[in-house]
């Protein structure tokens, strides 16, 4: 009987393989495939809940050995399952959101031609994500890290016939590659220094002080690079908004709740590393804060409902990374936990809206939806409330924990975080006001109707958790980490002030408007990062490629490859003349050679 973690890990993989083979080879009905996939993820949810409730509060953290994947003498690459509060809670988040997304997709992807492929991709993603959560060593984490990248690529590019989707998938994959390269270098540095790839082994080595100073900082930052790529932090944040080309449930699952949170989860896993490297921690905190700020600024001027949410996700991830850098990993995980619910809710809600409006994503072409889609509006409003940290919703508690960490460590970052809170309130209010209030601006939104129950039910469940997941009755059991901060008036007032200012400002600006009264080009164009990168690529990479090509043409091709053949050819032509076929000619040369040798050997001594 395989252990529970083994089932949680490998069931989705088996289902992914089954779905692909069955739908392709045996022409199994796509809906059956979808149901099988959904059922499997539901089983993993039940099992992970069983793990949580099966664990006593004092039960020690354990590592369940699954199998050894590769054995290189002193180095074993093992596929193991870490079971501690962190992984159990994260497992719950992943499987729970995963289940709801699977269910929601039953409605959303009902008529999609690639439904079986879509569900196979989702199952593969669940497998990879579970692997990251359970990893007890860097190698396993890296393997599943890459697998997550692959499944994300598959799912973003689900509608691969659309150029923009294919490009976005490529962009996401390549951008992640940059981060993963750093991650790999970091792992290798740590392995080289400590001789171990398990988290426990590396921690032991660091405690013993085998790695210090600049190299430690470098290693930590390299590891952080992985998180920068996966969690879309500045400067690798550009892929996440484009990844919204994928189906909306995918955006909810991968690009809001779980995969992008994997970077934060990994940072918390290796928090022992960040704990001993102060410089790196400061850099991480500032990267997080900066990302949160620019992402929030960009979000204020977007028109695409999913892009607004994508930038919001970036911004919230920046929050979490900042918290990790401020040595408040618990606060980061708590925010990850609550954020997973309300952001998944918002994405699924936006999916419902998009579905109802016949795949219209521009908020300026919606409007007046609150009367036509009452259930969706209610849940969406709850999600928004949680995101903008309305007091006594889940987001309020977790954001408060981060603000508190910032206040205690760094005033600058606290101000930055407060500013982000204000901007968050602003852009979310703008989104709700423009999309749901006012009057219908196009026929699509005019004819919108409420979505079916199979899509609405997950929204309601998520709405419930968006409000209550911050309270200790839920958070203490289910979340990877819960923080109960003392009531701090300064933070409360800051938070509330930011909320009122942001929301109120947005209401005044946008209520009843049919087009955007603000037009701030630099925000609308995402600070021109994409343009900047393409310029960099155009000028640096193309020039570099030109040099490489020139070297290839002139040196390698002409000199090394063709040069050798030409030299051989030339010598051959030259030596051919010596091959006179004249016996006595040969004898003459032979004798001449003997005379020279005699001269050297006997006379010239």
């Amino acid at each position: 009987m395989p252990s529970t973690p083994a089932i949680i890990l490998f069931l989705p993989l088996a289902v992914a393989a089954f779905v692909l083979l069955a739908s392709k080879g045996f022409k199994l009905n796509a809906t059956v495939c979808a149901l099988v996939s959904t059922a499997s993820v539901a089983i993993t949810l039940v099992l992970s809940l069983a793990l949580i409730f099966g664990a006593k509060s004092d039960s020690p953290d354990e590592v369940v050995k699954l199998f050894t994947w590769a054995d290189f003498g002193s180095l074993q690459l093992e596929i193991n399952a870490t079971l501690d509060r962190l992984s159990r809670g994260m497992l719950f988040v992943v499987t729970f959101i995963g289940t709801l997304v699977h269910v929601f997709s039953l409605g959303y992807m009902k008529d999609d031609a690639g439904k079986a492929r879509y569900y196979a991709g989702l199952s593969l993603f669940m497998f990879s994500m579970t692997g990251i959560v359970l990893a007890d060593n860097f190698a396993m984490m890296f393997i599943f890290w890459e697998l997550v990248g692959v499944s994300s690529y598959i799912l973003i590019g689900h509608w691969y016939t659309k150029d923009s989707a294919a490009d976005a998938a490529k962009k996401a994959f390549l951008t992640n590659r940059i981060g993963d390269f750093g991650f790999m270098i970091g792992i290798l540095i740590l392995f080289g220094a400590t001789g171990s790839i398990t988290f426990a082994g590396v921690e032991q080595g660091l405690t013993a002080g085998v790695l210090t100073g600049g190299l430690l900082t470098a290693a930590t930052l390299c590891i952080f690079c992985g998180a920068v790529g996966k969690s879309a932090q500045f400067p690798l944040h550009v892929w996440l908004p484009d990844a919204m080309e994928g189906p909306t449930p995918v955006s909810a699952l991968i690009h809001a709740a779980t995969m992008v949170a994997a970077g934060v989860y990994m940072l918390v896993r290796v928090s022992f590393l960040i704990g001993v490297s102060e410089n790196a921690a400061t850099i991480i905190a500032y990267v997080g804060g900066f990302t949160a700020l620019i992402a929030a600024l960009m979000a204020t001027q977007q028109d695409d409902i999913k892009r607004i949410l994508a930038y919001s996700t970036l911004s919230q991830l920046g929050y979490m990374v900042m918290a990790v850098g401020l040595a408040a990993g618990e606060a980061a995980m708590f925010h990850l936990f609550t954020h997973a619910f309300f952001k998944a809710l918002l994405f699924l809600g936006s999916g419902a809206v998009i579905y109802a409006c016949h795949h219209e994503q521009d908020i300026w072409k919606m409007g007046g939806l609150k009367d036509k889609m009452k259930g969706t509006f209610a849940t969406f409003a709850i999600g928004t409330a949680a995101l903008i940290a309305v007091p006594f919703t889940s987001g309020f508690f977790s954001k408060e924990a981060i603000l508190e960490a910032a206040l205690h460590h760094d005033m600058l970052l606290f101000l930055c975080a407060a500013g982000v809170a204000l901007l968050t309130a602003f852009y979310m209010t703008r989104l709700v006001v423009v999309a749901f209030f006012g009057k219908a601006r196009t026929g699509h939104s005019d004819h919108a109707t409420e979505v079916p129950m199979i899509m609405l039910a997950p929204l309601m469940l998520l709405a419930f958790l968006s409000i209550f997941s911050g309270y200790s009755i839920i958070a203490d059991t289910l979340s990877p980490a819960a923080v109960h901060s003392e009531f701090n008036l300064a933070i409360f007032l800051t938070s509330l002030g930011a909320l009122i200012a942001g929301a109120g400002g947005a209401w005044i600006l946008y209520a009843g408007k049919d087009k955007d009264p603000l037009n701030i080009g630099i925000f609308r164009n995402k600070f021109y990062f994409d343009e900047l990168y393409s310029v960099i690529i155009k000028f640096a990479q193309d020039k570099f490629a030109m040099v490489v090509s020139a070297v290839d043409d002139l040196f390698i091709d002409s000199l090394c490859v063709n040069g050798i053949s030409r030299a051989v050819n030339g010598f051959g032509l030259l030596l051919r003349r010596l091959q006179s076929g004249n016996l006595q000619g040969y004898a003459f040369v032979f004798g001449l050679g003997i005379l020279v040798i005699l001269y050297i050997a006997l006379i010239n001594t």
Partner: protein, 105 residues
């Protein structure tokens, strides 16, 4: 009395004559004879060395044994070489080396 150098000089001259013959004559049978001359010249120097490097009052017989082997090999070589020349002559109707240049590159 006769010195070792005298024998070596005579041997070297005979070798040079044979060498000149190989280089100058065009008839392959003559060339072959000149090769025999060169071999014999080397035999002469070997025997001379053997006689002048006495061991326990006797010539050093190692040198003479080498000569013995050279003669045996030369006999075999002559037999095979002449057979090849005959075969060549059958194919080409000539013993003139300048007419045999199919190895020309």
């Amino acid at each position: 009395m006769v010195t070792l150098n005298a024998y070596l000089l005579v041997s070297g001259l005979l070798f040079a004559i044979g060498f000149a013959g190989v280089l100058l004559r065009r008839n392959i049978i003559i060339i072959f004879m000149c090769l025999e001359l060169m071999l014999s010249a080397s035999n002469l120097s070997l025997v001379a060395f053997s006689r002048f490097n006495t061991v326990n009052g006797l010539p050093n017989y190692n040198g003479q044994i080498l000569v013995f082997f050279i003669i045996a090999v030369a006999a075999a070589e002559v037999a095979v070489g002449l057979a090849i020349i005959v075969a060549l002559f059958r194919a080409r109707r000539t013993t003139h080396v300048e007419d045999m240049n199919s190895m020309k590159g």
